[in-house]
């Protein structure tokens, strides 16, 4: 019996309807395509009303197949499958055509967009009629979770999960957890001491019975799938035996080699070759930096070893590997800051008293290199005037098109700290002031009251060239004050560049490792920008914090907690459904040639010596279809991607070409005999 196909064309507001003549497509499908019994277009198919439309038609019109022309199946395939299943139709009897991502958003010409849409609907209609009913399989979820990145977002996630009684492995690349927040002095807008609110959470992590902390470690390899990931972690050689180290710090004290600390002190402070980034570091064990260590360079010294009371120094230590199994993974790998030297007119690296925002954080941090004294690069002079330049490397198509989101508020915080600590004049040069969240505008007001000057204008250049009296020995900010419409020159002692937040340079590589994608800029891509911000396209992999995009502390913490909630949901449910898209070998057709045997990287194919046939272990099969395509006897079929389905789809997609080109010979009953 012929299938009864229902076709639904989504307007997606104007997203599709603005480019594609949706009424025409829907009418055409109803009239021209075989077995289409209902064809409708609707404003928002993904809305509950749109879904009800499908459900009602299945129930009332006896639809046996459903085609939805809407967005990418990666967004709403689940939605429409669920609608089908609500109405009692097997969810796999539904097929989507991506009219938005593949047509309306990428096509200039409206008529051509409509024609392409018809082809895609035709392809889907042809294909869906050959779909088979499938039932998803369930696999258990390992309750262990892996959190990658020990900044505030990762810490929050780890604690939420651990507090709910589930084991967590937290991996941190640096010697200590804490992330950027550990470097900051105060937090906006409350001016809480950053360390005071962060360090209790850090020590909770270190003492939590459910958390295994692997610092100075990196994820090497990830295999497996949602609920059942296998992860290999490289624990880098610390040259300190953690079991023996008491964290007394004598080794650090005795180390004769002092080097610039480019990481924690942002390059304006020093550390030893064996070091702990900061006193409250978690874990407490120091790390020996072999690249600068005198012993590694010259073969002598070993001061640390000599003075260590517990013999915890081990120069022979090597990287080790730890293999773990986890059910879910949360990436909270954070951000990097823009290299201000790419904007040479701001003079960073050339003009001594131009600082980056991160340098300034360390400068006013009581635990920083100046004990919190805000001074010029000479280390002693207190500035009398300070300029803060916003958007350095942000909102700039040459570097980062995005707004870095946190700089306006950080600049206000800096302004307050400068005024409070030095009484200096503070000038902010902003492009647009964006204090958008709770109590932020109030903080802006506070700074206005405190006398911080605000000039709307992106600074043209910072120069030491004094051209007028009063400019000598100063850094001069050359700017158009856009609210006055005039050029101004403002001499100051110190300049702070509010550097852009950028994706980590290896974000793409890390994304690949975990099987998730990045935006063009390099931020991890969430499953849905609004409704699913911490999940990714890969089941079981979640993201939290600034690795997904610039974010301040409250937002990072919220995401950390949100990601934990998503993972807990999976753990509580105990099992996840795996798509039943697997391959099957039809034994009666298999002659045991063994071509397929080497093709499966998941070892899902076995050869049965006694029966001389190959079989697929469907629990291991991931459904890639490579063996299906390889079988010379066509004895393997791939569920939901069978040859027949694909051939039908090709033919449907080429409906306008196939018509009358002789590709499908119409064999009529020939009239050979003369009448």
């Amino acid at each position: 019996m012929a299938e009864r196909v229902g076709v639904y064309i989504c307007h997606c507001g104007s997203n599709i309807a603005g480019k594609v003549d949706v009424e025409d497509v829907s009418q055409w499908a109803g009239e021209e395509l075989d077995n289409v019994v209902i064809s409708r277009d609707y404003e928002f198919m993904c809305s509950s009303l749109g879904q009800e439309l499908i459900e009602d038609d299945i129930k009332n019109e006896g639809l046996t197949r459903v085609v939805v022309g809407a967005c990418s199946p990666h967004l709403h395939e689940r939605t429409f499958r669920k609608a089908c299943s609500n109405a009692g139709l097997n969810p796999y009897l539904c097929q989507m055509a991506s009219l938005r991502e593949q047509v309306s958003w990428v096509t200039e010409d409206e008529a051509l967009a409509t024609a392409k849409s018809k082809a895609m609907i035709s392809g889907a209609v042809e294909r869906v009629q050959l779909h088979e009913e499938l039932e998803p399989t369930e696999v258990p979820v390992n309750p262990h979770s892996l959190v990658v990145g020990g900044g505030i977002a990762g810490i929050q996630t780890a604690l939420e999960l651990a507090n709910s009684g589930n084991p967590v492995i937290l991996v941190e690349r640096e010697p200590s957890i804490g992330g950027h927040m550990a470097q900051f002095d105060k937090t906006f807008p409350t001016l809480d001491c950053s360390a005071c609110i962060l360090t209790p959470n850090m020590s909770d992590v270190s003492s939590h019975p459910n958390i295994t902390l692997l610092s100075y470690s990196e994820v090497e390899e990830v295999t497996g799938f949602v609920g059942n990931f296998h992860v290999r972690i490289r624990k880098k050689a610390r040259y300190v035996i953690e079991e023996d180290c008491t964290g007394c710090g004598i080794c650090i004290e005795k180390c004769p080699k002092s080097v610039i600390d480019e990481v924690f002190e942002a390059g304006i402070g020093y550390r030893k070759s064996i070091y702990r980034p900061f006193p409250q570091a978690v874990p407490k064990y120091p790390v020996l930096d072999a690249e600068t260590c005198i012993y590694f360079e010259k073969g002598t010294c070993k001061a640390c070893e000599k003075f260590c009371p517990t013999n915890a120094i081990d120069f022979e230590q090597k990287d080790t590997f730890i293999d773990i199994d986890v059910g879910n993974i949360i990436l909270a790998t954070g951000y990097d800051t823009f290299d201000s030297r790419k904007i040479p007119q701001y003079g960073y690296g050339r003009l001594a008293n131009v600082f980056t925002s991160l340098e300034f954080e360390r400068l006013c941090n009581a635990a920083g290199p100046t004990n919190g004294h805000i001074v010029l690069r000479d280390g002693v002079t207190t500035p009398k005037s300070v300029a803060i330049i916003h958007c350095v490397g942000s909102r700039d198509t040459r570097f980062n098109a995005h707004c870095s989101a946190v700089c306006c508020m950080s600049a206000l915080k800096f302004g307050h700290l400068v005024i409070e600590k030095t009484g200096a004049e503070v000038h902010s040069f902003y492009t647009d002031m964006r204090p958008s969240f709770k109590d932020y505008e109030e903080f802006y007001n506070r700074l206005l009251e405190e006398g911080m000057h605000f000039t709307r204008g992106r600074v043209a250049e910072v120069t030491e060239a004094a051209l007028q009296p009063g400019e000598e020995g100063k850094l001069i900010i050359q700017v158009e004050d856009t609210l006055i419409g005039r050029q101004r020159r403002i001499p100051v002692d110190m300049v702070i560049l509010m550097t852009a937040l950028e994706p980590k340079p290896d974000a793409r590589e890390v994304g690949l490792k975990f099987g998730i994608s990045c935006s063009m800029a390099g931020w991890f891509t969430e499953r849905h920008p609004k409704l699913d911000p911490v999940a990714t396209m890969t089941d079981g992999i979640f993201i939290a914090g600034a690795c997904q995009g610039p974010k301040d502390i409250p937002a990072s913490v919220s995401q950390g907690a949100a990601a934990a909630a998503r993972v807990l949901g999976m753990i509580m449910k105990g099992a996840v459904e795996i798509e039943p898209i697997v391959a099957t070998i039809h034994e009666e057709r298999c002659s045991g040639c063994r071509i397929c045997n080497t093709l499966c990287p998941f070892n899902a194919i076995d050869y049965l010596e006694d029966k001389m046939v190959s079989v697929i272990n469907q629990a291991l099969c991931k459904g890639c279809g490579t063996c299906v395509a390889a079988c010379p006897a066509q004895a393997i079929t791939g569920a939901h991607y069978s040859n027949e389905q694909i051939f039908a789809e090709i033919e449907g997609l080429l409906f306008d070409v196939v018509q009358g080109n002789g590709a499908k010979p119409v064999v009529e009953e020939p009239e050979a005999v003369p009448a």
């Binding site: 057709r589 045991g592 040639c593 071509i595 010379p632 006897a633 066509q634 064999v667 020939p670 005999v673």
Partner: protein, 335 residues
Amino acid sequence: MSEKGVLALYWAASCGGCEIAVLGINEKILDVAAAFDIVFWPCVLDGKVRDIEKMDDKSIDLCFFNGAIRTSEQEYMARLMRQKSKVLVAFGSCAQEGCIPGLANATTKEAIFQTAYHDTPSTVNPDGIRPQTETEVAEGTLYLPFFYETVKTLGQTVDVDYYLPGCPPEPERIWDAIVAILENKLPAPGSVIGAETTVCDDCPRTRDEKKIKEFKRTWEIVPDPDICLLEQGLVCCGIATRAGCGALCPTVGSPCIGCYGPNEGVEDFGARMMTALASVIDSDDPEEIDRIIHEGIPDPIGTFYRFSLAHSELRRIALPANGGSDAKLETAESA
């Protein structure tokens, strides 16, 4: 079957091997004669087309049609036999998939004529005469069938009820088919009467996982008598070829060339061979892969489509003037 059935056999573009294969059933031919009135068998019996034309439609119970379709006369006969037969069987590889005559699709009609009427050493044709579809003589016009550019299978020409694979079909399989017909135990119309497995199923050689670093030609090695020929680098088509022959060739150390056609459900035999062989090439380096393929398989059409070119998805090589006008064909004929 109380009354005798009516049987016809016809021979279009083929070598005649199928006719001999019918006789290969030996004395069982008498059983056939007992069961059927043979009304038409040009190879064996005298008969006239006009007699068939005069018959009522569907008055032939069974027609074994061997050979591919390459002229208008063959097409006419195919249509005629279809019209007059209840059950039309594409008999043998030529009718089923074009077979060796179908390899003409790897060249052009013009090239064939050039070779046949001009270039072969034995041809003496000083006036460069070529046969024409129409020739005026004193008595009127003489006609010859129109020679097709592309060889077709029977199935591409008319509806076929059953296919009997093989070049030629093995006598045992022919007899099986006749029995099935007599006992009315036929599978669904349109299907192949034969096995659902491949030659490997009948092949006595031991087989292991496959990884190919180099394809070998038959003259390059003396194959090990016991292990799979493919594993030894020989392009054995047994993996993709329907069982039915009893794995005659591989058993004696000669790789299968695929005469029994593709396995059940397969549209394009060559695609199956290509994908299977390529999948097990032991290299991830694009250049090395290219080298292995180009050096090992110098003639991909002959290797993968020896019997099935006419039946394949693409059916033939591209014509030099694809989409040319009628005038071009005329020129080719009249040149």
